[in-house]
């Protein structure tokens, strides 16, 4: 590990030991990477089709959504884009969001043995779970590329901004995920709440449908759901001019993302000290 600063003695006392936290977090980045690598490398062990699961799940969801919302319920797509691509462009950020939320929120409890035996900034654990979600996301992205080739749909210049929106989806997930992970340590009730939230969220977020189907006077209110801004951003990147971004709504979504991120981090930091005692 990078050399520690010994000029000042480390003082351990109630409510203390927080000054160096963010520096410590940076020092422990190798641990973060190695935990991420551990999660990735054990993920598909002892499965028959292995990494193909990463393809199968999002693909089947896309097919089901296209059939139910597009063909059965006949919801409109955006512009000229094929419905499957519109759905998939929404499904990608949603899956990223929900898998980060699910994995990260339970991560502290499943790593209880580490927490009660070794010191490191605890934020390392929920953050390390992001890697698994990102790899699945990468796989899904390649399915999307294949889908676009199949339909002969070319994206506009906006596609270059996609990494930015990926980061945004991650930030949107990390705020609540970090908050929930800290809460689960104290109250295991959240174990039951989180799957419920992701399940409901799938239907209240514009995943299977376009956010344009929401009446105009409700658009602003609808954007309080941060995933509305994130998903719309994705669609804008991928579908280009066919899906113009709704400015004020997007800003509200971003504001909610930032608030949740700060709140999540603060809650986590406050709760962190007692993790080893409670877990």
């Amino acid at each position: 590990m990078t050399p520690f600063d010994y000029s000042k003695p480390l003082v351990l006392e109630a409510g203390g030991a927080s000054r160096q936290y963010w520096i410590d977090l940076w020092r422990y980045r190798e641990l973060l990477m190695i935990l991420a690598w551990r999660d990735v490398s054990v993920r598909y062990k002892q499965t028959v089709i292995g990494i193909a699961w990463a393809f199968a799940r999002p693909f089947m969801t896309m097919v089901v959504f296209t059939v139910i919302f597009g063909a059965v319920a006949k919801l409109p797509t955006e512009g000229t884009a094929p419905y499957a691509i519109m759905v998939f462009a929404g499904l990608l950020p949603w899956t990223l969001f929900s898998s980060v939320l699910t994995e990260a929120s339970g991560s502290l409890v499943s790593n209880a043995n580490l927490i009660s035996k070794v010191y490191f900034p605890r934020l390392v654990i929920p953050l390390s779970t992001v890697a698994v979600a990102l790899i699945d996301f990468g796989v899904s992205l390649s399915i999307l590329a294949g889908l676009m080739l199949w339909y002969g749909f070319a994206p506009g210049w906006q596609i270059l901004l996609l990494p930015l929106f990926v980061a945004l989806a991650l930030l949107a997930a990390i705020g609540p995920a970090v908050w929930a992970s800290a809460m689960i340590v104290k109250y295991r009730d959240f174990r039951f709440i989180i799957p419920f939230v992701t399940q409901i969220g799938l239907y209240v977020s514009p995943v299977g449908f376009s956010s344009k189907v929401v009446p105009e006077q409700w658009q602003l209110l609808y954007s309080i759901n941060p995933m509305v801004g994130v998903i719309d951003g994705f669609r804008w990147c991928i579908l280009g001019g066919d899906s113009p971004l709704y400015g004020p709504g997007f800003l509200i979504s971003m504001l909610v993302v930032v608030i949740m991120l700060v709140w999540g981090a603060l809650t986590f930091r406050r709760a962190e000290r007692a993790f080893a005692d409670l877990i």
Binding site: T2, E13, I34, N111
Partner: protein, 436 residues
């Protein structure tokens, strides 16, 4: 003073624990209790407090008013019975948990080993786990890579280094885990009971490694129940009892104090009760009838057990003597061996039992006390109820001390008559032995 590397000042750690009071099989009571429990948990949650299960809450100080200083390069052992606060102290020093009051100042990097193989993942190979465990213990990848060969060699599992560790035997697993930890570089090393795993050969190797670490001038804090290891490795010990420093000083004196701290805590403990009887307390008495924790081999062993009975007939008191490995070595039953049952009148009794002299090897022992009904069903059982020490065992004034850690059992055999040799006539089938 500049060479003080760890300084603890009025250190304290409080926990809130919940007790379940006895539940009567009355539906109404169950309902009201679950409602009040639910209410309290809800209030706790709204206030952001931790939830505690139980009907009665109690504050419990795992550590209180702990002061000590440790100098650079010192090797100190922390001893105390279970629940004395040792592990809590190590957890505070290694930053896993925060003190409730007081403070600790630490100069230097602390490597803490509260368990070997923390974070080992069964699906990963030995090689992968070395890197994973190294990172968890605070080593950089470069550091691990640099020492990789050394670690593998020390562990002795070269052949299986690319096998998932879930296929390892317990011993191999422990060896690999300790090997990683043994190659940590830090100013301060904190070790908790890691020697409890592995076979004797491996334990010897661990001890050897630990003394090398100590010789290299690093500061070591070492928690162990293995008094032999503690005495061999360290010169100073801090004895904890009920969360306080009971003794701090040279190792020999500390080991003696440890023995008395054990006895005191046991007698304070609550032993619970059985259906018809309850064992209340027990003590070993010296010649003058004064409680002691020393037994002098060759003298009658006097044990006093306080118990209560509801007067049901056919109850027996049984004693099991165990050595320091907790193996039973001797047994006595009042009704089987002496045709004596517990009194048939309800009440509390002192039961004095005087046993014939034993030549117990020096070391630690304990008694389990059990009351049984007609020698069949156990009514009340208290394990490790009475601990005591034998300091010296030299039957017939032999010039050395026969101890339990000699590995030759817990009791010296004595003669009923002289040892005799009588030569047997040669028959021709004598074995060829080495030259004289």
């Amino acid at each position: 003073m500049s060479d003080v590397i760890i300084r603890a000042d009025k250190l304290g750690k409080k926990f809130v624990i919940g007790h379940k009071t006895e539940l009567h099989a009355v539906l109404g009571e169950r309902v009201t209790r679950s409602i009040t429990g639910f209410w309290r948990k809800g209030v706790d949650m709204l206030k952001g407090r931790a939830m505690v299960d139980g009907d009665v809450l109690e504050e419990f100080w795992a550590l209180r008013d702990v002061d000590f200083e440790i100098k650079r390069g010192e090797v100190v052992s922390i001893i105390g019975h279970n629940g004395a606060g040792k592990t809590t102290l190590l957890k505070i020093l290694s930053r896993i948990t925060e003190p409730t009051e007081g403070r600790v100042e630490i100069k230097g990097r602390v490597a803490s080993l509260l368990e070997v193989g923390t974070g080992f993942h069964g699906e990963l190979s030995g090689r992968e786990n070395i890197f994973l465990n190294g990172a968890i213990l605070g080593m950089s990848r470069a550091e691990v890579r640099q020492r990789f060969d050394e670690i593998v060699e020390f562990s002795g599992v070269e052949k299986f280094i690319d096998t998932p560790v879930k296929r390892y035997s317990v011993g191999m697993y422990a060896r690999l885990a300790f090997a990683v930890a043994a190659h940590l570089e830090s100013e301060i090393l904190v070790v908790d009971e890691v020697l409890a795993v592995g076979d004797a050969e491996f334990q010897a190797r661990c001890l050897d490694r630990m003394s090398k670490v100590a010789d290299a001038g690093r500061t070591v804090l070492f928690v162990s129940h293995n008094l032999a290891a503690v005495t061999a490795l360290t010169t100073r010990a801090i004895v904890f009892q009920s969360g306080r420093v009971y003794f701090d000083g040279p190792i020999d004196a500390a080991v003696a104090h440890y023995a008395t701290s054990l006895r005191r805590v046991k007698s304070e403990g609550k032993w619970g009760k059985g259906a018809s009887t309850a064992l209340i307390s027990a003590a070993m008495l010296d010649d003058n009838g004064i409680p002691t924790d020393r037994y002098e081999p060759g003298k009658p062993m006097k044990v006093r057990v306080v118990l209560q009975t509801n007067g049901v007939r056919g109850m027996t008191l049984e004693l099991v003597l165990r050595d320091e490995h907790n193996l039973p070595i001797s047994f006595y039953s009042t009704s089987v061996f002496s045709q004596v049952s517990l009194p048939g009148k309800a009440g509390r009794y002192e039961c004095d039992i005087e046993l014939q002299p034993y030549w117990l090897a020096a070391g630690e022992y304990c008694f389990d006390f059990v009351t049984t009904y007609t020698n069949v069903s156990v009514d009340h059982r208290v394990d490790n109820a009475l601990r005591f020490f034998v300091e010296r065992c030299s039957p017939d004034s032999i010039p050395f001390n026969f101890t339990q850690n000699a590995g030759k059992g817990a009791m010296a055999m004595r003669l009923a008559g002289p040892v005799g040799f009588t030569e047997i006539e040669a028959t021709g089938d004598e074995l060829q032995l080495g030259p004289r």
